[in-house]
Symmetry: C2
Subunit: 304 residues, 2 copies
C-alpha cells in the first residue's frame, strides 16, 4: 500500500456563502487534501496547529487512516482564514487572514514518513516545499500546488520546486500570472520549458485540463444543483487525484486520465457542503457511482 | 438530403483583437451559421443586406452550397457592428452598432424554403422568430438562439419561442439572466418548466453543456494555441451542430452528443482567424481529424 505524504496548512475557517455562514470550522490545504486522499490511500500528514485546535478534529483525521505523527501542536493560536463568496461562488473574497503558529511552520518529516512513495507539497512557501523535498527519500511521485502570493513574492524558489516535482497543480489565473501569458496552451509550454513534467490546470466549475508532453486531457466540471461552499475544492481535487494514483501504483496515461476524473469526483462532493462535512458521510459506492456519471457526462461515440 | 433553413443577420464587422484589426468584413449570425453548416448540409438562407454589401461575399456563400434566394438586397446600408476584444478574448466590447437595413427586416420564406426539415432561428427579435415559425411547414427540428437584449426587452415573446422550438442555444450568462438563477442546473430546470426540450448552454472557451430531460452531455473546450477572433464562435457552433444532425437525419442521443462535438469542432476552427476566413480553407479531413482529437481529449477508460 503506497502512503501519501502531504505537507500543508491546517486552519480554522470562517466562511460565508449565499447559503449560510460557519465559524472556526476545520480547513486548510492539508486538511482537505488528507480527507480527500484518505478515500483511496493512507496519508502521512505534516502540519502545524495551535493549542486551541479542537482535538476531536485530529481524532477524526486519525479515524480516516491519516497518520498525524507529523502534526505539531504548538503554543499559540491556529491559522485562521475568513472568507466570503458571492452568488456566482467562483471567487473567494478574503476578509481576514491570521497566520498565527503557521508563521513559524518548519516542516520536519518523522523518520517513518521519509520513504513515503507519493508526496504532495500543498500550497506553502516554496522554500519550505524545497526543504521537504530534501527530507524525502526517493519518492515515486511528487506533486505541488501554489498560489498567487508565492508567484508574486518567491518566483525563483517556486521555479526550483516546479523543476523538481512531477506534477504541478495550478489554477488557470495562477498559470497566467506565473507566465505572463494569457493563452493556456502557450502558458503550459513556458512552464514545460522550465522543466515541468505534468501540469494540471484547475478551472473551478469548468473542470480541469491535464497537460503532458504527449497528450492533453480535459475533465469536465460536474453540473451540480447544490453548491454550498467551494472552499477546499482544489485541494480535494489534488487529494482524489493523488489518492487514486497511490492506490493504483501505476503511472500510465490510462491511470493519469482516471486520476483527473477521481480528483474531479472528490472535489464535486466536497463543494456540496461546508468544510469537509460531505466527506463525513461519503461512501466508496457513491464515489464509484459519480465516476460512472462523469463517464456518461463526457462520453460520445467515435463511429459516424 | 435535409436542407437547413437559417434566418438571421448578415453584417459588416469591424473587429479589433490583440492580434490585429479588420474593417467591414462579412459577419452576422446567419453568415457564420451558414458557413459552418455548409460543411455538412445545404443551407437555405434568409437575411437582409444593403446595396453596399460586396457581391463577392454573396457569390462565395453560393459556391459553398448556400441558397441565397431568401437574401434580400435592400436600398440602404448593411448592418454594421464594431467591437473589440481585450487580451483574455472572453468578452466582446461593442463599440458601435448600426442596424441600417436590418432595422426593417421582415423575414419571408421563399416558397421552396417552407418545407426545410431543419430550421435555425438565429439571434433576432423573438417576434420575427415566431413569424418565421408560422411560415415553416412541419419542420423535423427547430432550434433558436437569442441574446441579452431580447431577454431584457421581449421576454414574453422569447418564452413563446422557447416553448415552440426543440433546441435552445444560449450562453451561460444569458440563461442566468433569463431565469434569475445563477446555478446552471437549476436555471435549465426553470427553462424546461417553460416547455423547452433540449438546452445547449455555450460556455465559450470552456466548451458546452447539452441538457435534455434524460441526460446531460459536456463537450470540452479545445485547448487552442492560436485564438485570433472569437466573433461568430457561438453561431459557428450552432451551424456545426445543426449541420451534422441534418446530414445524419437521426435525432438520437448518440447523434445529439456527436452534434455537440461537431459544433465544438467547427467553432474551434472559426476562432483561429478573423471573420470566417478559416472556413475558406477548412477541409472535411481536418474536421474529422479534430473530431478524433476531441475524442482523445476527453476519453478515459471506465475499467478500474
Amino acid at each position: 500500500m503506497n502512503k501519501i505524504l502531504v505537507v500543508g496548512s491546517i486552519g480554522l475557517d470562517s466562511v460565508e456563502t449565499p447559503f449560510g455562514k460557519v465559524k472556526d470550522i476545520p480547513g486548510g490545504s492539508a486538511t482537505y487534501f488528507s480527507m480527500a486522499a484518505s478515500f483511496f490511500s493512507p496519508v502521512n500528514l505534516v502540519a502545524i496547529v495551535g493549542q486551541d485546535f479542537p482535538p476531536q478534529h485530529i481524532k477524526y483525521l486519525q479515524r480516516k487512516g491519516i497518520d498525524t505523527a507529523g502534526l505539531v501542536v504548538s503554543p499559540g493560536r491556529t491559522f485562521r482564514w475568513k472568507g466570503k463568496y458571492e452568488y456566482d461562488l467562483n471567487r473567494a473574497h478574503t476578509l481576514d487572514t491570521q497566520l498565527n503558529v503557521f508563521a513559524n511552520f518548519q516542516p520536519e518529516l518523522p523518520a517513518d514518513y521519509r520513504d513515503s512513495k507519493f508526496v504532495f507539497l500543498a500550497n506553502i512557501d516554496p522554500e519550505l516545499q524545497l526543504d521537504v523535498l530534501q527530507q524525502a527519500k526517493k519518492p515515486k511521485l511528487v506533486a505541488c500546488d501554489t498560489m498567487n502570493f508565492w508567484i508574486e513574492k518567491k518566483k525563483p524558489a517556486l521555479r526550483r520546486v516546479i523543476k523538481q516535482v512531477d506534477i504541478l497543480f495550478i489554477n488557470e489565473a495562477e498559470i497566467r500570472q506565473l507566465t505572463g501569458q494569457s493563452n493556456l496552451v502557450k502558458a503550459t509550454k513556458i512552464v514545460f520549458s522550465w522543466g515541468a513534467k505534468i501540469i494540471v490546470v484547475k478551472q473551478g466549475e469548468y473542470g480541469a485540463l491535464m497537460f503532458t508532453k504527449d497528450f492533453v486531457f480535459s475533465a469536465p466540471g460536474f453540473p451540480l444543483e447544490q453548491v454550498y461552499d467551494p472552499t477546499g475544492a482544489g485541494d480535494s481535487f489534488a487529494g482524489g487525484f493523488m489518492g487514486y494514483l497511490a492506490k493504483n501504483g501505476e503511472l500510465t496515461e490510462k491511470r493519469l486520465r482516471q486520476a483527473t476524473i477521481f480528483g474531479s469526483v472528490i472535489a464535486s462532493f466536497n463543494v456540496e457542503d461546508f468544510s469537509f462535512n460531505r466527506f463525513r458521510t461519503l461512501t466508496g459506492k457513491e464515489i464509484r457511482r459519480r465516476f460512472k456519471e462523469f463517464k456518461n457526462l463526457s462520453h460520445f461515440e467515435e463511429s459516424l
